[in-house]
């Protein structure tokens, strides 16, 4: 029993810690060193210019703007290709990556190519001729992937044309454009970093690359919007039971003991046209979750209005087992809240006395050391709400305590075998599953594609 209680109590201490001063400090620290705070994690370097070091030497000349490349001599054979990669591989964590070239001069033969190549690419070969490379060639309009024989693909291109190449991470394909229009797509079956690559192969050929510093000829925004729309359409087509949402809302209200809301919700759903048939299939789980609803509601109200002594009294009366162990995480949460409430109403001396007697027994437990310190720090400030521990005075802290008591009472239900089922509402379990699926899919995909933030959808 004591262990079960701890599962719940420790879970809510963890939630507290998530808001704590230390967590906030850690978050700011990572932001300033730009390592793993949420937004910085999505920052990726992207190609900005051509790589002047790793290019094919005498067969291409990258001009001083590092965005133009020329073929300087007369080519003698097929191995004299002038290939230049971008200085950085294409970034992964987005829906689409795209770049364009403008053919300034198609030169003697117009043997210009645009595409993507892997990092170990041989710098004397056209993109597409070697394994792990893809290229759309100007002289024949063919697409080359992995060998010297091309496939029918799109139109040829020459002086004055703008040609683009992109990776669509959600469809896992490359696409090529000519003068703003998509000419074709090809499946992307290569892993690892890919470099935007251009090649020139006959005298006087010259192309300029645009990595996005100037506006693209191709409407990338519209393309992305269309991709998103297509995805949204597949999602919209999925059918879910009409009652699913009602059931989930209802069980949420039951789970947290929002009894009054539930009453109104049930009353209104009964009179809707057409009426909603609720809780008929799973009547048994219904009674389980309405367990002690009224007690849970009362205790939530008391804690939310800061009346911790009253909450304690009620708990002692109704569920003595919950507050029996004075050193449990649950008691710790309640005592801390009592202290916080004393500070809130300015009874600082009383808070000091209370803290001295109550915190002493917890202070030796290293796992709550940081939280005790946060509480005690409230005393140091004239305006504690504006301090770094001000979060303790916010409603969210009361909410944590109220939710902990709620879960604890739910776990006293003799029909519940595993206390862990009392930790989350059905809605929370669904949202966690949703997030985990997106995260896992992306990580199995080599972190390609857009990041998923539930918060943005809510």
């Amino acid at each position: 029993m004591a262990q079960e209680n701890d599962v719940i109590g420790l879970h809510f201490l963890e939630l507290w810690r998530f808001n704590s001063k230390a967590a906030a400090a850690a978050a700011t620290a990572t932001t300033s060193t730009s390592s793993s705070s949420k937004e910085d994690a999505e920052f990726e370097e992207e190609p900005t210019e051509l790589d002047t070091f790793n290019s094919s030497g005498m067969f291409s000349v990258v001009l001083s703007d590092k965005l133009s490349v020329q073929y300087p001599t007369v080519n003698l054979h097929g191995h004299d290709v002038g290939v230049v990669q971008a200085n950085k591989p294409a970034p992964l964590k987005r829906l689409v990556y795209y770049f364009e070239i403008f053919v300034k001069n198609a030169g003697a033969k117009g043997q210009i190519a645009i595409g993507f190549t892997a990092s170990g690419f041989k710098m004397r070969r056209q993109p597409g001729w070697e394994a792990n490379s893809y290229g759309y060639h100007g002289d024949d309009g063919l697409l080359y992937r992995g060998h010297g024989k091309g496939e029918t693909f799109g139109p040829t291109y020459t002086t004055g044309d703008t040609v683009g190449c992109g990776i669509n991470y959600s469809a896992q394909e490359f696409f090529f454009t000519k003068n703003g229009k998509v000419v074709g797509t090809v499946a992307k079956d290569v892993k690892g970093p890919l470099f935007p690559t251009v090649a020139v192969h006959s005298q006087n050929e010259e192309v300029t690359v645009n990595f996005g510093k100037d506006p693209f000829v191709f409407d990338l925004k519209a393309f992305e919007a269309e991709e998103r729309r297509k995805q949204q359409m597949t999602i919209d087509k999925i059918s879910i039971s009409q009652n699913a949402s009602y059931e989930i809302i209802r069980s949420y209200l039951q789970y947290y003991g929002y009894e009054e809301t539930l009453k109104q919700f049930d009353m209104a759903s009964r009179s809707t046209v057409p009426p909603i048939a609720l809780g008929q299939e799973n009547g048994s789980s219904d009674t389980e979750i309405t367990y002690a609803m009224n007690h849970r509601k009362t205790l939530r109200q008391l804690i939310r209005s800061g009346e911790i002594d009253d909450a304690f009294d009620k708990l002692r009366m109704w569920y003595p087992q919950i507050v029996q162990d004075n050193k449990s995480a649950m008691c710790f949460l309640l005592h801390c809240q009592k202290f916080i409430e004393l500070v809130r109403i300015g009874k600082l001396e009383e808070a000091v006395v209370f803290g001295r007697t109550e915190f002493e027994k917890f202070y030796r437990l290293t796992e709550v050391d940081d939280l005790v310190k946060d509480c005690a720090a409230l005393l140091a400030y004239e305006q504690p709400l504006k301090s770094s521990v001000g979060y303790l005075l916010e409603d969210s802290q009361r909410e944590i305590v109220a939710d902990a008591v709620n879960s604890m009472i739910l776990s006293t239900n003799p029909n519940i075998a595993d206390a862990r089922v009392c930790l989350h509402s059905c809605l929370e379990r669904l949202l966690r599953q949703l997030t985990a699926c997106f995260l896992e899919k992306r990580s199995l995909n080599g972190d390609q594609g857009e990041a998923f933030y539930l918060g943005r959808l809510l």
Partner: protein, 249 residues
């Protein structure tokens, strides 16, 4: 003992994978639960999601109680819900004239800027007249109020005219319940019109016309299907209980 059992289970999955020639990653329930525990959902966000549902679906009393019980502020003035629901209810009960009046009281621009909605309401009014056997009144209304709208020469007006003809043809059948256009008299037609008005009012209040929860549920199903291609992991098949299944292949 239980640990050994788990391993056997994983081996079995792996074998199935090999036989089927797939290269799916296998994620055991234990591993998956760890991943789930790393996901932190804020209570505040869930409360907002619930409030959004109550408000959008028009549960005004429940929304009021939820505001008190959870401390969540609604994203719309609750008073406007009562008005919106009154309109919706009027259409659902067949009092279309009343509904139109109420919409105009709320915001006359809603119908002015939305000819399709206005037509559908008028059409519903015609349907109700026919339902109540008021043949003469129905004909007069169709010809004087509805028909002129169909004479202009654009695609929208053309479709209105076709709909009007379809509706009026209800008058041509003795047994309307078994005629080709009987669906117009069905309760679902009222509900369709009612939800169209509801959506238009929400849009006019710069509020999304659909609650967020159902689309999140769809997204969950989609995300699970997507992940299925890459991995065998514990799915949630029954959304209303949210129980994790054992990973299958």
């Amino acid at each position: 003992m239980s640990c050994c059992f788990l391993d056997l289970f994983a081996v079995q999955l792996l074998l199935e994978c090999l036989i089927k020639g797939s290269s799916k990653k296998i994620i055991t329930k234990e591993e998956w639960e760890k991943k789930l525990n790393d996901v932190k959902i804020r209570k505040e966000d869930m409360n907002k999601l619930v409030m959004n549902f109550l408000v959008t679906e028009g549960y005004v009393d429940a929304a009021e109680k939820f505001r008190k019980e959870s401390g969540t502020e609604p994203d719309i003035d609750l008073a406007t819900i009562t008005d919106r629901m009154a309109v919706k209810k009027a259409v659902q009960c067949g009092n279309v004239e009343d509904a139109i009046e109420k919409v105009n009281d709320l915001n006359p621009e809603i119908l002015d800027t939305n000819p399709q909605l206005f037509f559908h309401l008028q059409q519903q009014r015609l349907i109700e007249l026919i339902r109540n056997g008021k043949v003469a009144e129905a004909l007069e209304f169709a010809q004087e109020e509805l028909a002129p709208r169909g004479e202009e020469n654009d695609i929208l007006q053309q479709s209105f005219l076709e709909e009007l003809e379809r509706t009026v043809s209800l008058l041509a059948f003795e047994d309307v319940n078994n005629c080709p256009v009987a669906e117009l008299l069905d309760i679902s037609q009222r509900l369709k019109t009612a939800s169209e008005v509801n959506a238009a009012i929400l849009t006019s209040q710069s509020h999304e016309k659909d609650p967020k929860l159902p689309s999140l549920l769809k997204m969950l199903i989609w995300a699970q299907n997507q992940l299925d291609e890459k991995a065998a992991y514990p799915r949630i098949n029954d959304i209303s209980t949210a129980t994790l299944e054992d990973p299958g292949v």
